[in-house]
Amino acid sequence: MEQVNTIAINPKQKIDDLLDLDKHKLSVIPEKKSTPLERWMKYLGLPVGIFVFSIIYFMPTPEGLTASGQSIIACFSFALVLWISESLPTHVTSLLLMIMLVFLDGWEMSNVLGVLGYDVIWLNVMAFILSSLLVKTQIAKRIALNLIVKFGHKSMPMLLAFVILQLSLAPLIPATAARTVITLPIMLIVAAIYGSTNEDPNGFGKNLLLQNLMGINIFSSGFLTGSTANIIAVSFIMSMADTKVYYTDWMFANLPVVIILMLIMWFLGPKLLIRMKPEEKVPVIEGGIDSLKNQLKKMGKMTKLEKKGALIFGIVVLLWITDRFHTMIFGFEIDPVMAAIVGGVITLLPKVGVLKWNEADIPWHLMLFSAGAYAGGLALNDSGAAKWVIERVFSLIHFDKNLNFWYIYIIVVGIMLFSHLVFTSKTMRTIILIPFIITLAKELGLNPLWLALPAAFTIDWVVGLPISAKPNVILFTTGQYSVLDNIKYGLFVSFIGLLLLIIAGMTWFRFLGITP
């Protein structure tokens, strides 16, 4: 494989250069320099992937699993190794996965190809159109400059500002994908000001994007209405365990846990996981922070174009915020994806809109990555293979009444938390696991609430893989971090989160009467 050299970024650049969209197009695949470890991973990735695939595919079909399910697990594991090692470009691996799913009788061709029409892909396309709108009209630059001038003299306060931003958006806009679309352009510009572009991502960009990925997902679990899956879980607890969980019960119990978790990650992320070089901790702008202040001053009052852009984006945000009143206002509910398409249409309307099609920077190669990866995840769900994997994990543990409660608690909450690695649907995961946990608790003579509610608190902690949730798919398409970065960061968050839930279970939840 031919080695390519990086386009070296001047440590101190002019802000206009950094924010010049034509120079940093997401739709152009950046050429990145590999470290020796990365080159070894690339070299060994394909043979290791083939080895893993062969072991799973050629073994006798395990009891309870279909031949399709076995093929899908083998293909997905193969793709996972390739995505991590980057032996092949991620989008090529996704296309290969789609071919394998069909050729090895895993999933029907119509299903595999149909994934490109899924809401997550449409949302992705619209996200980048709206993002281009915010960038072209300079709204994103204005917000980003304001944020940096106020908090961004150094990286840590800047990262903290995003934690607070995501926390404040979470109760207002339940749709995680919508929150991602709103904040994405700001993230990209802030990352660029700190010298991180998709061509040459640095530690700050990785931390910023991954921390936001965590924040968008995890803050949803602070509120009962944070996702439909949370509501489903509570309705199972009510119907099967005869215990009512109110909005405030949920919020008082879990919101402190997720805030602490995010603060820990804000602190540990850049110090332990993705370390930042000293030059990445400050904006790489010629003239430093003063130059940014001057830039902001130079921008003056909002231009007509900015106002137009803000109005279009405001309509979309308004539709997202008012989702629960749609039926009352319009007589029907507008899905977040449809709201984004409405925004996309207005944005591209001649004379009315602000963007020409050629100005919309859509990374199509990453849409293909998303479609293929999502196809793998959906096939795992659809074939029952994901459920089979979780059932096997549960069957390995011999639960009985003599077991210590906290042992059961750790296992159950841990399985619920890490099960997001095999399920792409939070709803499906909830429907399968929460009733199972309630039944298990009853069989062990425990109050189902003790296990089911703490397990339900982890429903939205879908952070391990770029396909675990819609925000993950959208953020991955920025090219600021690799699959391996996502896995490392996501698993670390999951372990810290589990530890926090154990501590909370023994203290805070006990005080609230959730655990014994």
Binding site: Y43, L46, P47, I50, E63, A67, S68, F436
Partner: protein
Amino acid sequence: MRIFKILFVVAIFITNINSQTIINRYSEKLMLENDGNLKLDITFNLKSDSMHTLSLPLNFNNKDVKILNYDSTIQDIKLEKNDGVKFIVIYFKGFSDSLIDYNLKLEVKNYFDFEKNKTDFGNYILSYKFVNFSSLKIRKIESYIFLPEKYVFTSVLETLPKQKSNNPEDIYVFSRENSRNYIKLKNSDLGIGDGIFIKFKFKMEEKSKIFLVILVFIAVGYMIFFRDLVKQKKVK
């Protein structure tokens, strides 16, 4: 013709009518053999009360069905067919006011034609339905469909009742017994005329060894073709 069919079902219903009696549990094991024959093991559980006979539906029209064996609690079994609807008429030995398991074994000749039903990827498609044409309600029904040895299920195409997305309980489960894979389909409270249905794909559990060899070649070929990835420093 249809009116005769209806009259026949009504006649059976009247002869067996007993508002108190229901079939508490109806379990059937359908064991598909390599030659396409089907062995059927039916166990049902009821209080026979004052019933002399019970007509159970036999959903294998136009197939040659043979009685193999039945319990000592059953006096006799006859296969009857009227206007295309087949029934097993069971004659009880005596009355019972407690729940008793009754068992009978049948064989359906040439039930499945492997040649005719072969589709893509070496899959076979099989569909099975049970319609409760008996005069009694069935409280709980379980149908086990066993594949011949060395065959595996590929996927389920359709079921009745349908698996609802908000229902955590599975309509069907896959498992294995004595090296034979089976699918268990269950339902409850089957009224007269209600049924269960499943359509699925299955195939021989064998994987191409040539494919494995090709994979090994690809892995080795890749390592040779891309060896510059790890040799770069030496080249420099």
